[in-house]
Amino acid sequence: MKKIFGLMVSLLVLTAFVVTGCGTSAPTTASKDGVPADIKAIKDRGVLKIGVKVDVPKFGFKDPKTDKVEGFEIDLAKVIAKKILGDENKIDVQAVTAKTRGPLLDNGEVDLVIATFTITEERKKSYNFSDPYFTDGVALMVKKNAGITSLKDLDGKKIGVAQSATSKKALADEATKQGVKVSFLEFGTYPEIKTALDSGRIDCFSVDGAILFGYLDDSTVILADRYTPQEYGVASKKSNENLAKLVNETIADMKKSGELDKMITKWGIK
């Protein structure tokens, strides 16, 4: 027993060493021609790698007929690619989920994540977030025949939410305010939550409204109420500060010129 304990302790110490060792990354410095290193890396590569959702209609959705990923967030990625590389088609989109988007940024698999990523103070400690490009609210989907019309009706019921989504906290706060008691179950993907709603495991499916519309069918209904604005931002690796700055400027320009509003209207998501 003593031997095992000793082995465990040494393993723990070893992991601690390994992880602190690789935890530091070189700060980005401007190279000779004045282009910051993080942006130069993208220019040298000639393509901007973007992490997007492929299961959220109108935001990032892979059309099964054409096999192409399309949506508001892909259009946004194109504008940023044009700004950096001068060609809006030089993007390489990669599917991310709520769970993989953080690690993919950290290990450099993607330069930017534009994937209905809600900005929070806690997340800002790990990644750079741009100013919000879209604001959505948390919405509730219930079965038509359940007779539920508001959050109050969900007293004592179970709500299914997605892991890595901020809807849980938003709803929990709102429920406390209204004096309603609800419990939460977290699932890894949206289809799993919908399956659980269909099988009666949960009484309500709750994520951001825009995402929820992709799962609406004949047996379900989305309630009109929206809770706690969820602000979506473009995320980048913490050390890629210049890239983050450039993205932010691009979004600010798009807001000023009205291009962002035009895009939102084009996709019909407001």
């Binding site: 806690e122 699932f187 495991r201």
Partner: protein, 221 residues
């Protein structure tokens, strides 16, 4: 920096989240193991019976369970049964899921253990007036137990690890709490290192014990 110091501190601060999951995982493992043993010994004995039908029942159970993924079995218990009007609490889904799954493997271990005892042992017992069942109980199983023990312990180790499948259906186990916590604040680095070490703390002593049993067995054979 996935492993920044403040993320480690956050894990320590919220240790209760992990403790809660850890306890659920232990409870799931114990009950699942109990069920697996009961099912395994029962079906393992069926597998060595002279009766063809009994052997067939053993084959159906073992082959069906061993050749479908645990994930599908759990998913069926969780989301399939409710459509048939049976809603089991998720903890029961977990115990049933891993218990039935590993029961099939235990059945094979038990069957192999019984078959490894020379046939003469049983014939001798029967000739001395033992019934089939009392021969099993007093002569065969005690000897088979020694052979089956090390692989059984390995089954216990896999069972503990496989309880993590419950995370998929919001099972409240260690993996679920780790996923939930890490995906909320994205401090995934330290989270999964700590979670892995917790599973290691459960499994490593068992695996070491199994190895020691194996060595002892070699000596006694």
């Amino acid at each position: 920096m996935p492993f920044a110091a403040f993320k480690w501190l956050a894990v320590l601060q919220d240790w209760q989240v992990f403790a809660e999951g850890f306890l659920t995982t232990i409870a799931l493992s114990l009950l699942g193991l109990l069920l697996a043993m009961v099912l395994g010994i029962f079906f393992g004995m069926l597998g060595t019976a002279n009766n063809k039908t009994l052997r067939f029942i053993n084959r159906v159970y073992v082959e069906f369970i061993q050749n479908t993924p645990l994930v599908i079995q759990i998913f069926f218990l969780y989301n399939g049964l409710p459509h048939l009007g049976v809603i089991l609490p998720v903890f029961v889904v977990g115990v049933l899921g891993v218990g039935v799954y590993h029961g099939a493997y235990v059945a094979e271990v038990v069957r192999a253990g019984i078959l490894s005892i020379p046939r003469g042992q049983q014939e001798a017992a029967l000739s001395q007036g033992f019934s089939y069942w009392s021969a099993m109980r007093h002569i065969i199983l005690p000897q088979a137990k020694r052979i089956a023990y090390p692989p059984l312990t390995n089954q216990a180790v896999s069972l503990i690890k496989n309880t993590s499948v419950l995370a998929m259906v919001a099972g409240g186990d260690l993996m679920y709490h780790a996923d939930s916590w890490a995906s909320n604040n994205l401090y995934y680095g330290p989270t999964y290192v700590v979670t892995g070490l917790l599973y290691l703390a459960l499994c490593l002593p068992l695996a070491t014990y199994a190895r020691r049993l194996e060595r002892k067995l070699e000596v006694s054979l």
